[in-house]
Amino acid sequence: MKSLKFLVVAGVMLAFATPVMFVGCKGGASKADSTSGDDNTILGAGATFPNPLYSKMFSEYNKSTGLKVNYQSIGSGGGIQQLTSRTVDFGASDAPLNGKQDSALSAPAIHIPITAGAVVLSYNLPELKDTLQLTPDVLAKIFLGEIKKWNDPKIAAINKGVKLPSTDILVAHRSDGSGTSNIFTTYLDKVSEDWHAKVGKGSSVNWPVGLGGKGNEGVAGSIKQTPGAIGYVELAYAVQNNMTFAKMQNKAGNFITPSIASITAAANIEIPADAKVSLTNTDAAAGYPISGLTWILVYKEQKYGTRSAEKVTKMLKLIQWMVHEGQQYCAPLNYAPLSDNAAKVADAQLKAVTFDGKPVLQ
């Protein structure tokens, strides 16, 4: 009986110790990870949106140089967290770091744009022969639930000569936190004061109306099944699945069909030196307004842990290759290649990376 009592006491003590061990892991074990890998393996984590492109780029790069890249597409938020805890060599995100995330980092990190994508408005109106046209104002009102029917005069006014049905509008949005939602809500937040006041921007927001679907496929499912549905998906997904999507009016007043060319055009604007720019509501006259860059994030000072200069050089050369030679893999996978401006900024950012205070790339 005595030994049983001892076991109970030991067990309860262990139970209390377990969570403490878990909490402890967060800070401690993380540092070991990024340092323990060999010099020929680079660890990365982050955004799911560019994952197909990154996988292709990394496998091509591996063929020519033998460098292994282990990229975990766990989502932008997760990528930033892992970079913050220094468990990975680079993070990847669909949104630039916000103030809170920036201050959580122990050292400054830089943003290197790799590719651009767009979010398109797909709809299910079988009767409609022409392509639907949307203005920012109408789009915001639809997603706020203020425009409820397809034959609303506001929609009719921008689609002259098009016979619109009297069907109810069903809004479909992403239920999982995602960079796609972030680009979309950032756009609405910029173009509509009402949206800014009521909803705001983020990778998950409190949607005033509509159905949530998990992933692009979830939203696409709702759209395909429900006549009168409208929702947002990534361009690449919409193209691969032959979905119909609307033309959006941009800041210059032109109605733009989303395409690789119009996304690259959207990025053909003045890019700030830190590359932290949202392409949404772009000034470019030919640019599609709901576009966004996706970035790789690395620490500016690369000497931390037991990282070798050799490994750092290899990683930066890889990123440099992605910005230049790697761009050829964008278009076949429906990603938009970087604009010249964006590539220039990416180069400047890469050259600013230091190892022990000295620049790595010449």
Binding site: S3, G75, G78, S175, G177, L211
Partner: protein, 306 residues
Amino acid sequence: METPSGNKGNRLKRSQRHIKFESFFRRLLSVVGLSMIVLVIGIMITLVVQSIPSLKASGAGYLWGKTWDPVADVYGAYPFLLGTLLTSFLALLISIPFSFGVAVVLGEYYPKGWLPDLLKNTVELIAAVPSVIYGFWGLAVLVPMVRTIEVKLGYEPIGMGIFSSSLILAVMVIPYAATLGRSLIQMVPSMLKEAAYSLGATRWEVVKSVIFPYTRSGLFAGVLLSLGRALGETMAVTMVIGNTSLIPKNIFSPGNTMASVIANEFTEADHPVYLSALIELGLVLFLVTVVINMAGKKLISGFTNE
């Protein structure tokens, strides 16, 4: 050559070894058993510790707050709590006639034969199908059917929502109550049944007055197992519930459950309070399951004492 004394020594040694192994084995078993307690308490403590930032920020209002707004850092779990309870109990309600029906058919009416065997194996297979497949089937088949019903009844023709999820969940939980019910019904002493038959009772009267009273607590335990499964089911529900944080107006409205919110939003929860609010949601789900289980145990023991 062995002397009698040597033999005796060997026996002594062996029995000593036996005793040693016996106590080692006992200790091993206790440790294995206790590690379960450690695991559950550990999970509980982890959840509580990680929920502290959210507990500080939202307080008790977390439970009945009606807004879930990650942008403004306002977190109220009420719509999800409601969604979880609604879908689970509705699913239970739908599944009980089927699971008890299957249990009685297999336990009493046709205990042997190839058709009952097929039925039994099929029901068991239902439990083995991965939930994502149910979600897929729900999305492709069930949702359009529910939409047709909604059009006929004059509700918004959405298809996805609380009702669709309850249907899917009902199918998923049938085997738990059915399998347990079947084996219990087969264990009803034939003496009792034969006595009832000899008094002129019909089959239905035997089921009603002998089998159900005799197996009541067991059948209820099966239902409880089903409920536990329904409360925590994530993937299939996420795919057909419509995932909105608005409070459902009727059973056809879209809604959301706690498990589904966690699965959806965990990966991109990018600020500490948000993450903590999601973990607190896990804690609430954990507690709801514990409370329902304990209440169920109380009810079962109430039945048996009668």
